[in-house]
Subunit: 369 residues, 2 copies
Amino acid sequence: MDFDIPKDIILCHEQEKGRAFVKKIWGKRATFVCTIGNTETGKIPGISAAGANPAITDYTPAADVELLYYGWCKCINGVPVTPNGIPTPGVITMSAIKMANMPVFAVNGGVNVRPNAPYFELDGKAGRDIRTGKAVDDPLKVFERAVVLGEQLSSVSKFLVIGESIAGGTTTALGVLTAMGYQAHGRVSSSLPANPHDLKSKVVQEGIASSKATVEEMRRDPMAAVAAVGDPMMPAAAGVIVGASRRIPVLMAGGTQMAAVLAVVKGMEPSALEKVAIGTTRWIATDKCSSISDLVRQIGDVPILAANLDFSKSRFEGLRIYETGIVKEGVGAGGSAIAAFTSSKGAIDAKSLLREIDSNYERLMSRKS
Amino acid sequence: MDFDIPKDIILCHEQEKGRAFVKKIWGKRATFVCTIGNTETGKIPGISAAGANPAITDYTPAADVELLYYGWCKCINGVPVTPNGIPTPGVITMSAIKMANMPVFAVNGGVNVRPNAPYFELDGKAGRDIRTGKAVDDPLKVFERAVVLGEQLSSVSKFLVIGESIAGGTTTALGVLTAMGYQAHGRVSSSLPANPHDLKSKVVQEGIASSKATVEEMRRDPMAAVAAVGDPMMPAAAGVIVGASRRIPVLMAGGTQMAAVLAVVKGMEPSALEKVAIGTTRWIATDKCSSISDLVRQIGDVPILAANLDFSKSRFEGLRIYETGIVKEGVGAGGSAIAAFTSSKGAIDAKSLLREIDSNYERLMSRKS
């Protein structure tokens, strides 16, 4: 039987596998998991736009989780914004979750600021500046607990969508991909208008040089790479993906950060790659300043799906500006949109999702004042 | 259509409602939740048998959770035992969960020792000695987060079984029931061979006298009662029950401690009582030294079901001794057994469950050496 992919899901990479993945999840309710972490790397000036200023990036993941649970943030006023006031992509995720009535679970990889909401604790710690070469303590412990968690979640879910919120995450993604031997320079994305590739690579090279692990160790062992130049979201997300994918399909919701998580997953349990896809936004898929497909191609035959979101018709300037390529992705925005489309069998599309996003944005902005 | 209750489920109290509850959950897979906490109350000499000595009771809940997740404990050697070496009722729960293939989630109400496993964090703290009259900090925060968690769990589950592991829990149960105006003296159960009713009441009276809350405040507000003379398991369990029971049936798995949780639930959301039942063991239901039905009758028309476990035919002395009325209940043993019977539509019964318990006990004892 033929199967038509809905028009608002773009098959960007490994199209046949992408089509098969969409078919497999069609009509199935998604469980959404948001993995959070903090890292000092995100506070290096010029690295991240996931917060109005570097110090406040510690609050961004907690605020994003609160937004998903309650429809508004508790630990900050308003919602997380970039230095220019552009709202978190969590507004997209929250809208998709609400429309598709998805259960949400937060997973703490290691944070300084805890959400005012229930979350899964894996006893991980916030990450250090990767320039120290010792970014994450005991990632294997967090990974192993996350595997158990992924197995538990898979036994109460038909399919899993897993996103992340961590500031500075594309820099640590570059770190882990580089440490594991992939060609990643110039290929990771950025929430900033101008992608600071050279700054990121400089930070990564400094971290790799400082690390006590050898180049060979980091290539062979993803946990060594994460411990040196990764972030605490990675072992948590990778573990949940490995555990859940033993039983159900998993949509890895994110941009180039998820390529780094994919590399970790491959290194820990290669067979998991057959059960996963990456789900992102059109803004990532068409980004001229990064290339998620160039990264994924180096790792494995994993499909990339993109939600064909178009904010040019939004009622609000703060959302229309997404079309200029700022922010682009985060909090599993693209993947949650895809899951809303597939779980509703196309009853939800990019247009109706934008109406919901607009209305949530309006409510949140009026609350802020 | 008539409905026959399986022979291994005893309808102890509110029989018609109990029958209706069993019918409602018949054939439905259960999600098991284990709520844990620590309290200094459990360390008062002579109060609890939930550990070989008072100091080690801090490890008991974490070890119980590990037992449920992995089939063995990580934070201690062997399994939690009473001072006389009788194994934790968690062995019953673990066996029921394994046979019925139930998903398990741990919820941390407030502990000193964290399990080596994933768990839901509600940011509660371990409890003080209730003689201080300030046993639990900010139970309302924990309760509210637990409500959100219960709602999330209900959206991925058909029905919920919720148990507890906390040492000293019957003393804090007596505390909260007394503070809320119920006649509880001499009615709470004990894991010890001789129930120290007078010691418990003395501890409770001291706590109530020390509390800054008035008698009237504690009668009216369950959170005031818990804050004064309760334990950190209570607001967590009550919150999950309130949140989940808005959508699905909830089996409150435990002995007289669950009567205290029921009183808290009633005070916070009275309508929840229509969706819950208490599930316990025959050892509690027939205990001459306590009366769960006397307690529940004072609170509301809530059915009590008991698993007709009979360990007299066990291959092991350490389990046969349960028939003398020691330990009796804990870690949701009775409720998990009931859920194994109902979810399997009677394919699992007390006899086959005992075979599984015996075999797990044998494995654990040989591992211990």
